[in-house]
């Protein structure tokens, strides 16, 4: 058996963490699966565990004129019931897992787990989210795409903790979020598509496009978005084949026990096409 700590404050959590080698345990919905052992044996936690899911400081959501700040240990259920949380994030969160898991699973856990199938990631990429990492009196802020390194890996140091997620306010009037799982709920994504746009009269003033589960990390191209931005819808209509072919080069899915490469790729582009034709324009 390993030591388990239940700190009373964020400061205490950070202090214990700097003792090194501890496993941060928020909702535990990823950890308990990853570390489970067969046949009724206790899970395999090989290092001390720090419980953080109960810490008030990490469960706060604050809203300012510029941005919304979400505590890393906010559960999905908490996000769904807060009015400042962006609609597209709520749409995404409402399709994660099932009510029981949404009561425990946290947004910070989803980010730090860095799974290619982590559902909040493409939405957070699309919303230009950043994360705040804390250690012993020091903090750093990173854009989400700099935080995630690859499947299951982040730049988080052993003594660091994710405290908050910052989402700058931005306005959109076109949304398209689609999660393709195997069943209605409680299924990991084969593909997810996030599309956001701000359309004024005939011009598209802002656009964000992100794909989840079809490459080692989220696919988002600020270059292609820049090419679309500011154009009028007739021009964009003409660009669709070109846009599809750009993304086609970036989307590099695998075949596995849940789906295959061809499906993931074709359907990603179908969804993009649908967003451009049926939702954005």
């Amino acid at each position: 058996m390993v030591d388990t700590f239940k700190p009373q404050s964020l400061q205490e959590a950070v202090d214990v963490l700097s003792d090194k080698g501890a496993i941060l345990f928020a909702g535990g919905t990823d950890l308990m699966v990853q570390r489970r052992r067969r046949g009724g044996l206790i899970p395999d936690f090989d290092r001390p565990v720090i419980l953080i899911g109960h810490l008030k400081e990490l469960k706060e959501i604050s809203n300012s004129t510029r941005e919304i700040r979400i505590g890393s240990c906010c559960t999905y259920t908490a996000l769904l019931s807060h009015k400042a949380v962006p609609e597209i994030l709520k749409t995404c969160v409402s399709q994660i897992a099932s009510p029981g898991i949404r009561n425990r699973g946290t947004i910070g856990g989803n980010i730090c787990n860095a799974s290619p199938a982590g559902d909040t990631l493409p939405v957070l990429y699309a919303l230009d989210a950043s994360v705040i990492l804390a250690r012993d009196n020091k903090e750093r802020v990173l854009p989400i795409e700099k935080f995630i390194k690859g499947p299951g890996t982040t730049v988080l140091e052993a003594d660091e903790l994710l405290t908050r997620i910052i989402i700058p306010h931005s306005s959109f009037n076109k949304f398209f979020y689609k999660k393709v799982g195997t069943r209605a709920y409680n299924a990991l994504s084969k593909i997810s598509f996030t599309g956001l746009a701000l359309k004024k009269l005939r011009a598209v003033e802002d656009v964000r496009i992100a794909f989840g589960a079809v490459s080692p990390t989220v696919v988002r191209s600020k270059d292609i978005e820049a090419q679309i931005r500011g154009k009028d819808i007739d021009a964009i209509q003409k660009m669709i084949p070109e846009i599809l072919s750009h993304y086609s080069k970036l989307i590099d899915p695998i075949s596995d026990q849940r789906s295959n490469r061809r499906y993931r790729k074709t359907v990603s582009l179908n969804l993009l096409n649908s967003f451009l034709k049926n939702y954005m324009l």
């Binding site: 699966v33 052992r37 067969r38 046949g39 009724g40 393709v180 709920y185 026990q257 789906s259």
Partner: protein, 710 residues
């Protein structure tokens, strides 16, 4: 007019199950009980050169083939499967030995630190490879577990004289049972007797297997069923293997031994529904009338024979579906491969065959520019018609009435017409399937093989005990059999006792399979109850007598393949996402003839469950074997439906009294499963206009079917 027996009562087992009070095998702890864990083969096919176990701590044991007092083979149809690998392994997951001891951690440590040295043998991963003479056969000389032929009329002549031939091939995949409660048993050894407690469908199958494995006299062996959390056929044959394991361990250690699987182990090493390849050729005359049919069925039996020959027979017996087709040749084969053994699963061969014939007729109808339903109606079996085995249908076939009811409630015709005019982004479809299910054992099996015996006994306090070997695995006999007996005796339901079967107490009334419990065992109980009432005895034993009309030649498969059939018709409506090819089931309808329902609510429960399981089989339950290893190894990857995936079904029952069933009841357990997949597939075919020839119908498959190529 509704028969009074059909009015629903509260299920007797509901309070203890929903209240968490029911005691399943994993809840039972006996004094001094040891835990067991199985070392399994990691190779699909290999010779075991050596097994190196770590030094065992005090109180820990290894149990292997040397600890089997009798024969190292599990008694089934052909006894080719060993309890523990006999020098050779034939599938990934095959049991090699057990580690047993007081602490799970240490038992686990022993398994993890035991090394097996293998020498690979050229493996066979598919039915095509099974026919390849370059690979050393797994089973006998040709890898064929069973091969049969059925003829009706003169198929050769029909094909010779045909104007044209319509030919298609259909494939279906694995299905895993995912009963809520994984496999588990406890074995004990006391005073020279062994007892097995376990989650099972067939206590006497387990007993027979132990008689052989132990080489003991039958009165030294006792088998007790514990409250069983689902089975679906998965606990028909498999418990015999692990009952052997637990008992051999109990003998060696002189302590009770419990062997309970966790989910992943259960998924990876227990039986599955047989994957199939079915080719159908139809001979047509110049007017497009069907004059003959050839059906060729190949099943992947996996590494050991198990129940495969009977699964094949049952597939063949319904291979022309609910139709009277003249001049038929049906050929069937089950082949051995180095895949996990296939076994019993609700429907038992029929779902594969019904899918193939229904889809074949759907495509043929499109080819003939007819609505599938109109084509099917033309050939529907009716009273007096010959079945595919040349038996005579003696029962009233109520299908015409059932079909018109189904057309009404589903709005099939109108929808079919309106879905025709849709645009490319509005993919909607509706499909219908017609089907039947043979009740109980095939042919004279009930008389010649099963020889069921039931007993009723009046206890001192006036209560009456039902003594049968059939189990409640969730399907309801604790309630329905009590209802039958209490109604006849005119005593309250609560005055009838029916404990989980214990072979020391109950006669062998046969296995809990083939939808036979109410129709066969319930009927025997009804007769016993009549005698108990009129003859004033305290105990009545009733034995199976075959209904006089049954004629069956088991050698040549000629005659009445089943005592009677239950019938059904399904309609399914779907919409398909034009971007992702995801199928959404919008509505499901079902009309059924199960004779007299002994409790409507229980039959509706079977229908809802069967539909949900059938839609899962048809769409999301994907299981594939790659080089002998299953790709979907846990419930994260093997997806079954949840309550929000499919809508509830609109369901109707049509009464049709059967003289040899209790209160007129026929079979109901498997029927609701068998017709679902073809109705779903027909709806998808209607929606996207591409023939569906494979189960499950995944979005990945639809993408390929719709866009073609690679």
């Amino acid at each position: 007019m509704k028969n009074k027996i059909s009015s629903s009562v509260s299920r007797i087992d509901t309070p203890e199950k929903t209240g968490g009070k029911a005691s399943y095998i994993a809840d039972i702890k006996l004094e001094g009980m040891l835990h067991a864990k199985t070392l399994r083969s990691e190779r699909a096919r290999a010779r075991i050169k050596a097994i190196n176990c770590p030094n065992l701590p005090e109180g820990y044991f290894i149990i292997d083939r040397q600890d089997i007092p009798g024969k190292n083979s599990v008694k089934m149809l052909i006894d080719d499967q060993p309890f523990f690998a006999d020098g050779i392994v034939n599938y990934i997951g095959e049991p090699i030995l057990l580690a047993v001891g007081p602490e799970k951690e240490t038992v686990n440590w022993i398994i993890e630190n035991t090394e097996v040295e293998y020498e690979d043998i050229l493996p066979i991963f598919s039915v095509d490879e099974a026919k390849d003479p370059a690979k050393p056969p797994i089973f006998q000389k040709n890898n064929i577990f069973a091969e049969y032929e059925i003829r009706k009329g003169n198929p050769e002549k029909a094909f010779e004289g045909s104007h044209r031939v319509f030919e298609k091939e259909y494939r279906t995949g694995y299905q895993e049972h995912i009963y809520l409660e994984p496999q588990g048993v406890i074995g004990t050894y006391d005073d020279g007797r062994v007892t097995v407690y376990g989650s099972m469908q067939c206590p006497y199958y387990v007993k027979t297997a132990l008689i052989h494995g132990l080489g003991w006299n039958e009165d030294m062996i006792r088998v007790v069923q514990t409250t069983t959390g689902g089975a679906f056929g998965g606990k028909e044959d498999y418990p015999s293997i692990i009952a052997g394991h637990a008992v051999f361990a109990a003998l060696k250690t002189n302590r009770p031994v419990r062997l309970v699987f966790d989910r992943a182990e259960d998924i990876q090493s227990t039986t599955k529904r047989h994957p199939s390849i079915i080719k159908i050729k139809t001979a047509l005359d110049s007017k497009g009338t069907i004059i003959g049919m050839n059906v060729d069925i190949t099943l992947d039996g996996g590494a050991y024979c198990g129940l495969s020959p009977v699964v094949l027979q049952r597939a063949m017996f319904v291979s022309t579906g609910a139709y009277n087709i003249p001049n038929v040749l049906v050929r069937g084969k089950v082949l051995a491969t180095n895949n996990v053994p296939s076994g019993a699963f609700r429907g038992f061969g029929a779902p594969q065959a019904i899918f193939a014939i229904e889809m074949h007729l759907n495509s043929l109808a499109e080819n003939l520019k007819m609505d599938p339903l109109d084509l099917k109606k033309k050939y529907l079996l009716k009273k007096g018609d010959p079945t595919v085995t040349g038996g005579k249908l003696r029962e009233d076939v109520k299908m015409p009435r059932m079909i018109s009811l189904l057309e009404d409630i589903s709005g099939y015709r109108k929808k079919k017409a309106s879905f025709h005019k849709k645009n490319a982004r509005d993919l909607r479809g509706i499909g219908i399937s017609l089907f039947l299910h043979g009740c109980a054992f095939t042919g004279s099996g009930e008389r010649d093989k099963i020889k069921a015996k039931v007993k009723l006994r009046k206890e001192d306090d006036g209560k009456v005990s039902i003594l049968v070997s059939n189990v409640d695995m969730g399907q309801g006999p604790q309630t329905t059999l009590r209802k039958i007996v209490s109604k006849i005796l005119g005593i309250p339901f609560s005055q009838v006792l029916y404990d989980n079967p214990d072979t020391d107490r109950v006669p062998d009334s046969g296995p809990t399979v083939a939808s036979r419990t109410v129709m066969i065992v319930g009927y025997l109980l009804s007769r016993a109850a009549e005698k108990l009432k009129t003859e004033g005895k305290t105990e009545v034993t009733e034995e199976y007598i075959q209904p006089p009309y049954i004629e069956w030649d088991q050698e040549n498969f000629i005659g009445d393949a089943y005592p009677v059939y239950s019938w059904g018709a399904n309609a399914v409506e779907v919409s398909i996402d034009p971007d992702t090819y995801e199928i959404k089931v919008e509505s499901v309808w079902g009309v059924y003839d199960v004779g007299t329902p002994i409790d409507e609510q229980i039959v509706y429960g079977q229908i809802e469950g069967g539909i949900s399981q059938g839609l899962g089989y048809a769409t999301i339950e994907v299981m594939e074997s790659r080089e002998g290893g299953l790709m979907q190894r846990s419930m994260t990857d093997y997806i079954i439906a949840s309550s929000v995936d499919f809508p509830g079904a609109e369901k109707r029952l049509i009464e049709n009294y059967y003289d040899y069933g209790p209160f007129g009841a026929k079979c109901a357990g498997e029927l609701p499963f068998v017709g679902v997949a073809p109705a779903l597939a027909a709806a998808v075919q209607n929606a996207i206009g591409v023939p569906i020839e494979k189960l499950p119908v995944t979005p990945e498959y639809l993408l390929e079917a719709a866009e073609g190529g690679n």
